[in-house]
């Protein structure tokens, strides 16, 4: 347990090599802008005009200085001032329009992407969720999408705007004085080199920091949910040490990153000042040699030397965001590309009502392959038939594969061999939703959503009215405790139902299944945490309800299933025995053993006094 590398740091957000300017990725992101092409064109036009107005101003200033200030023509100056003012106002308005418009486009595209990703993930089969930590999927739908929003909204358009700006500045510089323009641009290679150097190093660091952040988050997530276990087992110190270790790695990764930024920013500033110095020196020397350099041009160049590097700086400044966005996009598309969702049949069979005949025919199933790549069979050649209206029970040791049978019936997983039939139709020929709509499953692991009792019972289905909800609660004996809650059906049950007792949670799950009124009921240890008395009451009520309804039940307490029409005894993935309770007892096999074990304890413990005979007497009355 001392080694903490593996558990918290699977290949999760190990950021893969992502090229920030990966064309394929960018094209794919741009796909999401397609529906808003009209808006994009408008935004681009606005950006184009805006990026012309910015560089126009230093030029106007130059005109003002050379043509009017130097000669003292204040009238003319006023006109220039007016132009300057108009250019400024224009640029301000356009800049506002551009900003909002890009956000508008971006947010709409992000909305599309986010909902697509969510639906996609939701459609994945359960084997996907077994393998993928939920935290990772949450990251995909939230922060990864969020990171992309910067690119989708401003990214592309702003980048183009920056390019336009570069172009216009260069244009003005060259028209004013081409030699000076060349001098200014001489530092460009240096700038490019520094930027590349920075990019390469920071990319490395960036990947490292992402990894550390992911580690930190999953550690906190897991330890907050399991804090009571940490405390109960006195593991505070060890876990604190591990946390400090992870936190330390996280800090170290960031501190290394700071170094590169600390070099990069001053360098950029420095290089643009070098350009400025070069302009002054070259301009001055040029003036000495009699070139037509005016003061206005010099002042304009001083401004351009700064302005020219701004877009470049902007682009590098965006680097972090861009890198994050690209990494996010890569991961999102990774999820979208890895689609395992079960294909709907081409020609689905429609079942209006299910009579409830269920058949497993030579079903083989494995969740995973073993180390040699052979399937690690969990079910081996399982066959059985449940006639409509019958109740069939599955018993067997833990891990025998009972829950797996239920999972397969709902097609949560795909079987490798054999077939499963409902009313004689292979479940692969049914639409998934149609299949599941007819089967009501109570899962072994109860899950409640945070929110009201009512939300948990109806699952937000508006077609369920209050009366049927209350009636179902009565059947399951849940009404008493619900009504005792301060807010009754509106009581918030908290995360995973943590403000209820375990049995109460199970009862709610039971009500949920009843409300659903399915044709086939599948109960996986549905009352394992409920006391015997309540269980008996539920059973009586159910007997009336399940009349004529096919029921498949798993239970460890044999008392709850002995009325079943057929009992299947499972052992290590195989159906070993089958028959009614009586038949199985007579067979003297596994079932007999289980049964004897269950009731054996009562006699020796009670022997020696008259208790059992008392009980027996009363029972016989």
């Amino acid at each position: 347990m001392a080694d903490d590398e593996t558990p918290y740091m699977q290949d999760d957000d190990t950021v893969r090599e992502v090229n920030t300017f990966d064309g394929r990725l960018i094209r794919r992101i741009a796909q999401y802008l397609k529906p808003y092409a009209g808006w994009v064109v408008l935004a681009l036009t606005i950006t184009l005009v805006g990026s012309f107005l910015g560089p126009l101003r230093p030029w106007l200033v130059q005109q003002g200085i050379d043509n009017y200030i130097v000669v003292g023509d204040l009238e003319g100056l006023q006109r220039i001032i007016l132009f300057l003012f108009l250019a400024l106002i224009g640029e301000g308005l356009l800049s506002f329009a551009e900003n909002y418009l890009t956000q508008y486009i971006g947010q709409r595209a992000i909305y599309d992407l986010r909902t697509t990703v969510f639906r996609h993930i939701q459609d994945q089969p359960l084997s996907f969720f077994d393998r993928t930590p939920i935290g990772r999927l949450i990251t995909r739908t939230t922060s990864d999408v969020e990171a992309l929003s910067d690119v989708l909204s401003s990214g592309l358009i702003v980048a183009l705007g920056d390019l336009f700006k570069l172009f216009f500045i260069a244009y003005f510089m060259f028209t004013l004085n081409w030699q000076l323009a060349v001098v200014t641009l001489l530092v460009m290679p240096l700038m490019v080199w520094v930027t590349f150097w920075f990019r390469n190093n920071v990319r490395e660091q960036y990947r490292e920091t992402r990894k550390q952040i992911a580690r930190l988050n999953s550690f906190i997530q897991e330890h907050v949910t399991g804090m009571h276990i940490v405390q109960l087992f006195n593991r505070e110190e060890e876990e604190m040490d591990r946390f400090e270790g992870i936190n330390d790695d996280h800090r170290a990764a960031h501190i290394r990153t700071i170094f590169y930024y600390a070099i990069f920013w001053p360098s950029i500033e420095f290089i643009s000042t070098v350009a400025l110095a070069a302009v002054l020196w070259y301009g001055g020397v040029g003036a000495l040699s009699g070139s037509a350099l005016t003061l206005g041009v010099l002042v304009a160049f001083i401004q351009y030397a700064r302005q020219f590097f701004e877009p470049i700086r902007d682009l590098s400044n965006q680097y972090d965001t861009l890198q994050r966005a690209m990494a996010g996009a890569e991961r999102i598309f990774g999820v979208l590309d890895e689609d395992h969702h079960l294909p709907e049949p081409d020609d689905p069979v429609e079942l209006d009502a299910v009579k409830g005949r269920i058949e497993f025919r030579n079903v083989w199933f494995a969740y995973e392959d073993d180390n040699e790549g052979n399937p690690d069979w969990v079910l081996k050649d399982v066959s059985f038939t449940v006639e409509p209206g019958e109740t069939v029970a599955l018993v067997g040791a833990t891990g025998a594969g009972k829950s797996t049978v239920m999972n397969l019936l709902l097609r949560f997983y795909e079987i490798q061999r054999g077939e499963i039939l409902v009313d004689g139709v292979n479940i692969r020929d049914l639409r998934l939703k149609a299949l599941r709509r007819h089967i009501g499953l109570i899962l072994q692991d109860v899950f409640l959503f945070s929110g009201s009792v009512e939300r948990n019972l109806t699952l937000g289905d508006p077609s369920i009215d209050e009366k049927s909800m209350k009636r179902a609660a009565e059947i399951v004996q849940a009404d008493q405790f619900i009504e005792r809650l301060p807010e009754g059906y509106q009581q918030d049950v908290k995360e995973r139902g943590s403000s209820l007792s375990h049995g109460q949670r199970q009862l709610l799950a039971f009500v949920r299944a009843l409300l659903y009124d399915p044709d086939v009921m599948v109960l996986d240890e549905a009352t394992s945490s409920v006391d015997t008395e309540t269980e008996a009451l539920i059973q009586q009520a159910l007997e009336r309800l399940t009349e004529g309804r096919t029921t498949l039940a798993i239970a460890h307490r044999l008392s709850t299933i002995q009325d079943a029409d057929m009992i299947l005894v499972m052992h290590k993935g195989e159906v070993r025995e089958r028959g009614t309770h009586q038949e199985l007892l007579a067979q003297d096999g596994l079932y007999r053993k289980l049964h004897d074990l269950q009731y054996a304890d009562q006699s020796p413990a009670a022997s020696g006094d008259g208790a059992p005979s008392d009980g027996r007497v009363r029972a016989n009355l």
Partner: protein, 599 residues
């Protein structure tokens, strides 16, 4: 903003980074701001040079002058570059100190928070959702860090630059400076209002982001339920709705933020225009030079960013302040279950004699009490069984023994010591607790079992697994004990999970073993095996067992029957079956079933 003062001790702690850091910031800003002065000198000198140079047109001195002026111009350029290089060097040092310090503080803060989280009890975790706690430990701490590092850096830098620039401008021409700064009050006012709007709107946005995240988190955690009940579409629609809301809040914020930059642009641009206009007049009057205009323009451009960032910095600081408050709402919470003045450090070992004296407990003021005056006494090494209806308070009762909950009234004692006087570590060290709801870490089976005893060698892990009747199952796995169980143990069967949790408790070889309905998911044969191995240990531990199956409780030395927080019956199995009441009814029912079967 007062909340931020709570961070002051960090500045003190890292003064060896902050003091030089702030110094570097000022030096760097100082050097940077002198560049325009040199530029002005150069701009003003060039026409002078040219004039003198042309004056000597054709004379021999011209070549000499040319060399002289050439050198002069080179000197200007050299000085500018040198100034900028120095400024850059200090900027580098500034980042290496202030920003690094902020990372150190982030580290300390996060450790402190996690350390504190480890001390807080169940009551706290009931109140805060997991998502909330995670946000505190990540987002909020990051916001605080930004205040400590970048924000402080920017503020210092901006202040130095603005102060120096304005004073220099003032010396050159008070009138022009006043004119140039006319837009400044406007700037200040708009910064303030916009920052406030941004602040408000981004809070709303943040809220919606949390809603969205928890929605996803819940939907995916409960994906089995959603799929079984074909609620995926409804859930996706609900998600669409939340996303739509999120989109609009984003756009509301974008509206203000989009106006932000243009406003600065306008106001700063206005300054430039005023400088050219008024400056032009002043040049015509001969009051200032054209070089001064160039200088002014550079200053104004230089100040744009610092002043503009000031607005963001203000929001950054406001946010940090809110985050600090949120963090301290957790940090200030006294761990309600912890060692205190009443703790008796001399208690180092426990025998396991457990007694409850009139214990009351209520989870929530509005709810009915979960325990109403519970009393019993269980000598060490005996077995206590608790039965009773769902929700009758069994789990609540057993949670009091390892002090996961503390009674509202009454006392819980172990070996005659009130549990609140036993050092928490000692108390829990002697307990093996198997909670009703299994929680496993996403780790290997072996590591999950060894969670109960860090240094356990492999054979002890095996032994514990055998006692929990898990060994056979684990050996069937391709990877055996190295099998990686998914989140919360998702890839194990219900019974396998539960038995891993049992093994985790058994491996500690505790004085007190608590089984809270810990056999609900195992079959009868397994249950029997486990009970047998427990019985073999009999005399080595006190056992508290909650169960719905009489088979598991019959052999207990004391059985408590609970009903709505009261103990309604107590005694041994023999005593209870003879007594009218719940227990006899239950027993009868189970016997009756047996009878019917036997027919």
């Amino acid at each position: 903003m007062g909340a931020l003062s709570r961070l002051n001790h960090f500045f003190w702690e890292y003064k060896y980074l902050f003091v030089p850091g702030l110094l570097f910031t000022m030096i760097s800003a100082g050097f940077q701001i002198t560049v325009p002065m040199v530029v002005r000198q150069a701009v003003d000198s060039i026409p002078r040079f040219v004039r003198i140079h042309t004056l000597y047109e054709g004379t021999a001195a011209q070549a000499e002058l040319y060399a002289y002026f050439f050198g002069g111009l080179l000197l200007f350029a050299g000085v500018i570059i040198a100034l900028s290089a120095t400024s850059g060097l200090f900027m580098f040092l500034m980042r290496q100190t202030v920003v690094v310090a902020s990372r150190h503080i982030e580290y300390d803060l996060r450790n402190a928070l996690y350390d504190h989280l480890q001390q807080l009890s169940t009551t706290f975790y009931q109140e805060y959702s997991t998502g909330d706690v995670i946000t505190r430990a990540t987002d909020d701490i990051e916001k605080v860090r930004r205040y400590i590092g970048p924000a402080i850096m920017y503020v210092t830098r901006s202040l130095v630059m603005v102060l120096v620039a304005v004073s220099v401008m003032f010396v050159i021409s008070p009138t022009l400076t006043l004119y140039a700064l006319i837009p400044l009050p406007l700037l200040a006012v708009s910064v303030f209002f916009m920052a406030r709007m941004v602040h408000h709107r981004s809070d709303l946005l943040q809220q919606q982001y949390s809603t969205l995240t928890s929605r996803v988190q819940e939907a995916l955690s409960g994906i089995r339920v959603l799929k079984a009940y074909t609620r995926e579409d409804a859930e996706a629609d609900a998600f669409d709705e939340e996303s739509e809301k999120y989109k609009w809040r984003n756009l509301n914020l974008a509206l203000v933020e989009s106006a932000w930059r243009p406003s600065f642009l306008l106001l700063v641009g206005l300054s430039t225009i005023i400088v050219v206009w008024m400056g032009g007049r002043l040049v015509a009057e001969g009051a200032i030079t054209i070089g001064n205009i160039a200088e002014y323009i550079i200053y104004i451009n230089m100040m744009t960013w610092p002043v503009a960032s000031l607005g963001f910095v203000i929001t950054m600081i406001q946010r940090a302040s809110a985050s600090v408050e949120r963090l301290h709402r957790i940090m200030d919470r006294e761990p309600d279950i912890a060692d205190g003045p009443r703790t008796d450090a001399s208690i180092q070992s426990l025998e396991g004699h457990i007694a409850f004296h009139n214990v009351w407990y209520q989870y929530d003021d509005e709810e009915e009490p979960a325990l109403r005056g519970v009393s019993f006494d269980l000598p060490a090494d005996q077995t206590l069984a608790i039965v009773g209806r769902t929700g009758s308070g069994k789990s609540t009762l057993v949670r009091m023994i390892p002090r996961l909950l503390e009674p509202d009234a009454g006392r819980v004692t172990v070996d005659g010591h009130d549990v609140s006087t036993i050092p928490l570590e000692t108390l829990r060290q002697h307990m093996g607790y198997v909670p009703q709801e299994v929680f496993l870490f996403s780790d290997t089976v072996a590591n999950n079992i060894a969670f109960g005893d860090l240094d356990a060698p492999d054979d002890e892990i095996r032994a514990a697994a055998r006692e929990a009747d898990l060994l056979e199952n684990v050996e069937d796995f391709p990877d055996g004990f190295e099998t990686y169980v998914g989140e919360r143990g998702i890839t194990l069967s219900g019974g396998q999970k539960q038995r891993t949790s049992i093994a985790r408790a058994l491996i500690r070889d505790p004085r007190v073993l608590i089984f809270d309905d810990a056999l609900s998911a195992v079959d009868t044969a397994t249950e029997r095996n486990i009970l047998r191995s427990l019985r073999e240990r009999q005399g080595n531990h006190t056992l508290v067992i909650v169960s719905h199956r009489l088979s598991a409780v019959q052999a207990a030395d004391l059985i408590l029957v609970m009903e709505q927080g009261n103990i309604v019956q107590r005694g041994t199995h023999e005593e209870l079956v003879d007594e009218e009441g719940l227990y006899a009814d239950l027993h009868e029912k189970q016997l009756l079933e047996e009878e019917i079967e036997a027919l």
